[in-house]
Amino acid sequence: MFYKTKAVHFCTRYRQMLRFVDKELCYHCGEVCENTSIHIDDKNFCCTGCKTVYEIFSDNGLSYYYDLQAAAGAIPKEVVCKYNFLDSPTIVDRLTEFSDGNLQIVNLYIPHIHCSSCIWILENLHKLNLFIRSSQVDFPRKTVRITYNSHEISLKQLVMLLTRIGYEPSISLDDFDNQKKPIDRSLIYKLGIAGFAFGNVMFLSFPEYFDLASSKTTGGEFWLNQYQDVFRWLMFTFSLPVVFYADRDYFISAYKGLRSKLLNIDVPIALGILVLFLRSTVEIIFDWGSGFFDSLTGLVFFLLLGKFFQQKTYSFLSFERDYKSYFPIAVTRITSDGKEETTQVHDIKKGDRLLIRNEEIIPVDAILKTGHARIDYSFVTGEAEPLKKESGDTIFAGGKQLNGAIELEAVKSVSQSYLTQLWGNSIFHQDKSSTFQTLTDSIGKRFTFSVLTIAFVATSYWLYRNPTMALNVFTSVLIIACPCAIALASPFTLGNMLRIFGRKKFYLKDTRTIEQLARIDTAIFDKTGTITSAKKSTATYEGMALTPDEESLLKNTLRASNHPLSRTLYQLLAEQNIMTLDEYEEHVGKGVTGSKDKSHIKIGSADFVGIPVPGSVHKTSVHISSNDLYKGCYIFHNQYREGLEVLFESMSETLQLAILSGDNEAEKTRLEQLLPKLTPLYFNQKPENKLRFIKSLQEKGRKVLMVGDGLNDAGALAQSDVGITISENISVFSPACDGILDASKFQQLNDYIKASKQAVKIIKLSFALSLLYNIVGLYFAVTGQLQPVIAAILMPLSSISIVAFTTFMTNVLGRKLP
């Protein structure tokens, strides 16, 4: 077996050499394999991690994973102590859904879930461990619900197993603090009831439709006259749950609107429903006619359908996250007698000593005691480069340690830390939707007013002409003017638009955001991570040219280093042959040295390679000396997103722009060249400054769009009229906002804003269209000729044609979007 794999390995290598294939893709994760690739079973793997996952799967008969979808996997992360907190029973208790001592059920959020292979492998977890009873994936929510035998496999082991196969769950403080909310299914119930009643009432109305003139006095169909009352009372019964349950929200909303002296669109709807029901009931009691139960139930059904359509669709995204989704549940505390113990983050008190390992997040403001800290604050403050800290320095919560383990002493508790205090601002407790008047509501106000005027004018006319008709006309006007089509225009247009945007990787929280987006006149951008790319960065070389030997040695030395700057530089340098270094040493916090044959190289800070520290400290650079001779340095620059210039150029035509950065001024000159002239640039902005800046603009009457990415923008995003986060990977954390835009679609932002404006135009057009229907209907109503059948035809007809119109128009709009 061993020889065989070796032989296969050799063959593939040879074949590739012949074909000059320079890039091979990992069989497991699909990443480009570097020179370090591993070959097994005629397959390439980019790292041992991927190979291990492949072996686990193929050993357990789960290789079908790779047939379903090629290269669906993720590189498993190495975790050693990260999940130690899952040993604590109280934490496990909070995280699990159900536990009876033996059986436990847990619902885990796994961001990597993205294809059918993922569903398949996660639902076959019991193949990997006998004690996992069952697992069920909820794909839209990206969660998996696992039932397991907790005596045999603990939650920690389960999480480690998932991590080992590349499906690391995300467990944050948020999961610990927030107990699972029950799912609200009331809209589905209401829709079901309305649909059920609508269908049956329509069915029971057929006799009336076909034999309109019949009644006991005029003769007509005997059968229908005989059973007319049975049919009518049955229809009445069917309409009861619709009136008293399914349409409740409209009555509540109308009541709330009236109480705050606001005529919203739900007022005429509620009035229409009420009048329909009362008049129909009175009609069948006194045997005047069949009533309008079909129109009534149909109306409610269509309205609820519209509501259902504009419901939130991206259940895997959360638009309400705060720092808690970013913070860990527990950290390691060092007790007074030097032991390590896992402590819940909320239990950290002032004076506690904490151990923060590589890649862990610092949960509280603290003082560095031992170790060399390199803290990545990019997410918290917007600073692009990690900060160096020495013992005695203060470290703010929210930073991520990048350089080995450090020991800290907490100076504040979690809720009082610098970063978390931002969430104390009142803006986070306000509901944006309550203060925004939608287009439908503003139309509804005028509409209600004119309908009531028409109703009263027509009634007083009939009172004068023929008093017996007066009540009939009054109710008819209110029935036919019920703005069903108007109420449907907005949910269907915006709901469809929401889906179109979603397909273009622009995920909005709700339909209200589209309306808001159409109104904005100012756009504020954050710098780091928003207009710059987090993944890519460029470096320029300054100094003496390197010889080919030196270049090769440089690349090979960097290959061994795990420092972020080394990794970045390694990616940027040209391909070199792999060679084994004679000597390699990493000096933590300073640099690396490597030697081969007789030459050696020093890579690191200016101090490390032995030259005086240059004047401009803002710039991040890596200095190189070869054989103790200083050669030069690589200077890193932010890499701006593609199409930034074009985007700003086109946006500046209609919008006021500004940059609001938490970073220093190092990039000022480059930004000035890139952006349209006189774009205001603000640097060194703290999170509160950003919030206040937006607020001051709004006080001047501006409608502000904030585009940001990190926790430092959270205040500004919440304060702005529309807050959009740019995300390289939409499944990882993003702060509370109104929309999430995939970074690859950054250039299209202005097109999306324009599309929103057009969507609002479509709504206005359909308002005009539905007004036409209303005028036709009102003619029948005012002249006192409204028959149930006319109402039954006119209402669905207007609703359906509006829905068809808006769907067609938005699809045309969507096709034009890039």
Binding site: W120, Y189, L234
Partner: protein, 82 residues
Amino acid sequence: MSVIYVLLSISLVVAVIFFAAFIVSVKSGQYDDTYTPSVRILFEDELVKTSPILKGRNTKSLKKLEIKKKSIKLKKRREHMG
């Protein structure tokens, strides 16, 4: 009683049964995730039926084999008794 009452009540009973079925299915959470089942239904046949202990063997046929062996043993025993 007129036939129309019978027909009406039958149609009503059928309608109400379906309605109740709908409510029950919503309550049991069938409508919470409408996407995953559509993917899951396509898996069943391709399942490679092996478990960690019985690596490389088909458990179903193994069980069948055991049942067969048992029944043969039983037969032999009966023959002995007879």
